[in-house]
Amino acid sequence: MEKLKQHPIVKKAGFNRIVLCGVLALMYLLFSLANKNFAGLPRILSALNYAYFLGFLSLGVTFVIATGGIDFSIGPVMFCAALISGFCLTSYGVPMGISLVLSVLVGMLFGVFNGYLVAYCSVPPFIVSMASMNIAKGLASVFTKTQTVSWPQSSAPGGWYRNLIKMGSIPVGLIIFLAFAALCAVILNQTRAGRYILCLGSNQEAVRLSGVNVKKWKMLAYVICGTLVGIAAIFFVAAYTTVQPGYGDQYNNEAIAGCVMGGTSMAGGLASISGTVIGVFVIALLQEGILALGAAKDYQQVITGIIVIAAVYADVAARRRKN
């Protein structure tokens, strides 16, 4: 196993990511065998619909985990963004374009809120997440007066937003998602922000003592996350149109799972955008497969929970071995 890990191709592509691709392929095979109707475009498209919004959530939380923190308010914040902007759209007649921008803004504001508390007030991230989660749920419910919000269908006015997912047979959503993933990878690996975020996740004190304003960059990670969550909301409504207040939690773990599976370390300092992308596809395929088998979504929750435990434990064990 160790020798295999040292092989140049494996090193370049990343051991984790290769394993994940293998898992992806294996899963697809198994589901296709179990259900004759599985193999084929419709299922893949359905899985992709799930992957888009989840993918943006995962990308966002990757930045936060890279700083060594955590954010499990992302699901409810996504819903809050979708609900608030959707309510403005349907009840206040705000034009579609602006509503979409509003969605991103709501996400960003939560990112600022979370980031400020964690970076400048030293509040433990899990408490900020817990509080944010409930504030988001409460805010959404209050704003929409607990009503479900339905975004317009493709044929309705303003329905062009659904083209963000698919235009004819072109998987626009996939293109946009991968483009953003590439952007995130560039930010993380080629810009100052990304460099500081990863470094402070690995050794915050060393970075502070090098004269860097760690608080600022740490908060930025949360703001980036919030912004991506706002974008995730857009893709959620584009795929499913209906948003109900009071939900959103289940996506937290799945987003974190996709991120951690892909090689991002919970301890901070190590992050892989490509790993996150593949991880998200694995989760999306899993959920689609379970749906296809007619099994309850709950199986997916249990399985995802176990996967995350395994992934985090593998990370913890690997770090202990290095020490």
């Binding site: 499990f72 408490i127 409460g138 805010l139």
Partner: protein
Amino acid sequence: MGKSDMPNKSIVERLGGQKVIVLLVVMVLFAFFCIASPNFRQYSTVLSILDYSYYIALMAIGVTFPLITGGVDLSIGTGLICYSLVGGYLVVHKGCPTIVGILVAVAFGVAIGLLNGALVALMNLPPFMATLCTCMITRGLGALIVNRLGISWPTSGTEGSWFRDIFKTTIGDIKVPLGFLWVVLLVALMAFVLNHTPIGRYAIAIGSNKEAVALSGINVRFYHTMAYVISGLFAGLAAVAYSAVFSTVQPGTGAGFELEAIGGAIIGGVSATGGAGSVEGSLLGVFVICLLKTGLPYVGLQANWQQIITGLVLIGAVLVDILKKKRSGELRAA
């Protein structure tokens, strides 16, 4: 640790002091709602507040222990729903007597508590991550076992509904909130455990300085795990209280309960970073939250405002805690 050269007694005062402050807050809030809304100041309102507080109070009693070790248990919310569903399933669909359902629910809680303890204390996973996962797992498991259908434990008056009478009973014409008595007794019991038994003592020590505890030859892993087992046990008891008060238990719910319990504990004086806290304080903190939850609609605020306010109050409580620590640890002589 210690101060530069001035001994400072007020930490002790403050710890005793925070409980008093929270008690005052409870009284002020109650008075405020009574004054602001005539409908609020009815006996039935008080009963209602108490009814809906039992399960949160029980969760809070239990979660105080992981919090004191410097960790957290996020699985208590969805967990209690899961345990209630499992126990209820046996009673409603398998014809088991209610007592069996209750025992199974509590046992399941203990089992998950053991799992959490193993993940955190033995495998060294970050507590929020480990319990977030078990939160997911219990949510899925609960829904799977009952096939996504809600469960209604035996309603008052039917056979097997005696367990509801444990929490509220009618003497003559007056409804008596018996559950409050049990909660207070359990608080007294767990306060004893926290302050006078090794389980509690070492939980505090682990939260304060884990290495020092290990160096003293104490089995840290065991006592660390026990904190989570206690949390699981009380989540199980909370499941019973929840089933007794609500007519139906729905799968997929429960997320957000833990905020009320953990928030209550922190408002009541439990330190977010461990080492300090009290069971009585947690109970008082839960009352603050329940008062807000029930009282806000009476002053015209939608119930959902309570979620927002609870979240803000939690952050406020933690900020106060952090400020206290900053001021006392200001000049570290090393």
